[in-house]
Symmetry: C2
Amino acid sequence: VEVTGQFIQQLQRFIKAKNEEKILELIADMHPTDLAIVFEQISPKEALELFTFIDQEKAADVITELDEEAREKFLAQLSSKEIAARFVENLDSDDAADILSEFSKEKQREILSEIEDPDVASDIVDLLQYDENTAGGLMAKELIKVQVNWSREKIIEELRLQAAEIENVYAVYVVDEHDKLLGILPLKKLLVEPESVPIEDIYLDKIVYAEVNSPIAEVAQQMKKYDLVALPVVDALGRLVGRITIDDAVDVIQDEADRDYQLLSGLSEDVEADDSIWILSRARIPWLLVGLLGGIVGANIISQYEEQIMIHPEMAYFIPLIAAMGGNAGVQSSAIVVQGLANRSFRNGAFITKLGKELTVGLMNGLVCAVCIFAYNYFFGGNIQLAFTVGIAMLTVIMSASVLGTFIPLSLNKIKIDPALATGPFITTMNDITGMFIYFLIGRLMYSLII
Amino acid sequence: VEVTGQFIQQLQRFIKAKNEEKILELIADMHPTDLAIVFEQISPKEALELFTFIDQEKAADVITELDEEAREKFLAQLSSKEIAARFVENLDSDDAADILSEFSKEKQREILSEIEDPDVASDIVDLLQYDENTAGGLMAKELIKVQVNWSREKIIEELRLQAAEIENVYAVYVVDEHDKLLGILPLKKLLVEPESVPIEDIYLDKIVYAEVNSPIAEVAQQMKKYDLVALPVVDALGRLVGRITIDDAVDVIQDEADRDYQLLSGLSEDVEADDSIWILSRARIPWLLVGLLGGIVGANIISQYEEQIMIHPEMAYFIPLIAAMGGNAGVQSSAIVVQGLANRSFRNGAFITKLGKELTVGLMNGLVCAVCIFAYNYFFGGNIQLAFTVGIAMLTVIMSASVLGTFIPLSLNKIKIDPALATGPFITTMNDITGMFIYFLIGRLMYSLII
């Protein structure tokens, strides 16, 4: 089903008319993700009416898929008891914890006290203690585990019991009597291996796992690297405490990519095209103001050369070119560094080697551009002084921009600041300023040297 | 195991000394993905020696994980017969087809003719016919399928048989006697539901699937949207022909994100920080040359105002500022459009509505920046003419850059060209040119109006 504007209008008419039959006809077969899209486009009140037509499990999934703003508005209409009974108890522990974490501490306690199953409540309380950027904050408590010394029969029986509680079964985890993670038993092995073979002979003990405090970006990269659909999470004692599923890891990967893209494009918030004008403006103004500040500094540098411009106005013609080339070269370098750090391909070699390499790349690109612009000015343009000034400045600016574009994000990364901050407008602004400084310095030199 | 430079050197020494015991000690427990990283850092000849220590299944997986260049060099050392027996026959059909597709048609035929199992060869030939950017090109033929009218016993038996051939079992597909896809039978249901219940009562018939010709970017987005670990693929008649697993979809998602990032940063090739200086330079020069061309056009525009600059050199001071602000605002707008199109959040509303919204955002941000720079020039800077010129130009440039930054990628998307092409240096260069045009036009007006 494609959720079109027409679909929404039709649905809203049926809700207003309380036409149960037609509403059910429209939404009965819809996936929770698509229903969430519908919910974000109708009023919280209409959403509340619509909810009575969706079964509890599905309704809980819809709530998970909603964006934070729509969820907040919707849940504000319900009592703590309703939230606990209708949503929290029907969700996987990680989704339940995520939703609860959006409430105040007090409201959290209130909702938790309304949960009937003490195991469910205790799982959620467990999860709430972890930082949302760590494996503990991403994992769910739902998993299937068996003890290594159990018989095959007992295992099959336990599997049935435990699987009934879990939405997606990917693997069976094998633990010892103290819950220490020993390995994984692929479902396939249970199917294929004859019943006489004991568990300890068929489970895999060389496995990838995460610790509760590992950063989620790292965990997601691991799952991607090793093609895993689920990753067990252990505590400091090596005890199995949860598992992370690939759908959550995919969201992390997308979020990381979106964040880098956003910083490169000069947005200070995670915005989407259909956000309000106010949010869109707010996300864009900070970096524009940084650019403004940089421009003022640039203006002050150029103003030092007022007389030179009056005599040689042709110097001014190439200001945008020099600024643009510095900006472009700097952004290219910084982007390569940031992507290299993100996908860990930028491991080998010392700091100084990387700068040296970048200097060489800058030299090569700078030479090509410098020769082109020199030729242009020499043959079509004004004077020989200008040709030399622009050519030499071009080479110098591209080289310095390349080195700065590598140096700054690498340095930020060393002191544990997100290197992606040094991409986009930041690096462009910096290189505009250094570019102007270099250009006019070389200009003064050239015009005094070559007569 | 972390693959360090030290580790590689140690391994190379052992390979040279043919110290089998030590080699095995080092690599025995390594994951194929990590082994591939090792392989990319040693010579093809050393890699060939190392291969004798790795079992066939694992060796095949290592080959899949290698980057294309390293794989080509490595496989060039082997005969078609060896490639078929040692790698192609030990791989999943999709990986085998991917590797084969890198060879010439002739070599492909040669390798295919050396494959002993005719089913394997026929699966690969099937897959090779699909475009690599479609679901058919991404899917594997390995899957578990059962007919809806089979008994539970027969199903369990078939499952055992089929699962033995497959690395990862996520779901059992249910088909009719003509192989038409009817639904999915989650493994969990088989575990949990009593044996007396017939299959037709427990399989899920509302499922998400892809057609062989669907673009992979769309397929990957679907899997992400609906949190799927595997997606069945059907042909034009609705017959089940393959399945796509989440690990391949994750790679597609990452590739799409990388490509958008790369275009935004002005790189014309997919490069990594550890690529050679030559490749890094080659990827960067095209957009630098575009910038160069733009700069020359800008220089020609400014040169029309030579006299004005000689009289009012202060006009030149703010050239970098106007250029930078146009560039930044344009990149912000285009980035929001490109991300919105990529994650499909940019669906609602007509073309003209989107432009109108962008114009409003540009107006708001432009006003803030214009007021700031006007105040700066009025209180600290030179004359009232300059203050008005820069302020008004700032507002106009930010608004026009915002609109262009929205209009161009949206238009490209309409005519089916990748909108991400209109981000980064392209939009910056365009806005530099229009910015200069606007700035000096307004300047001439202001200096003649205000005396």
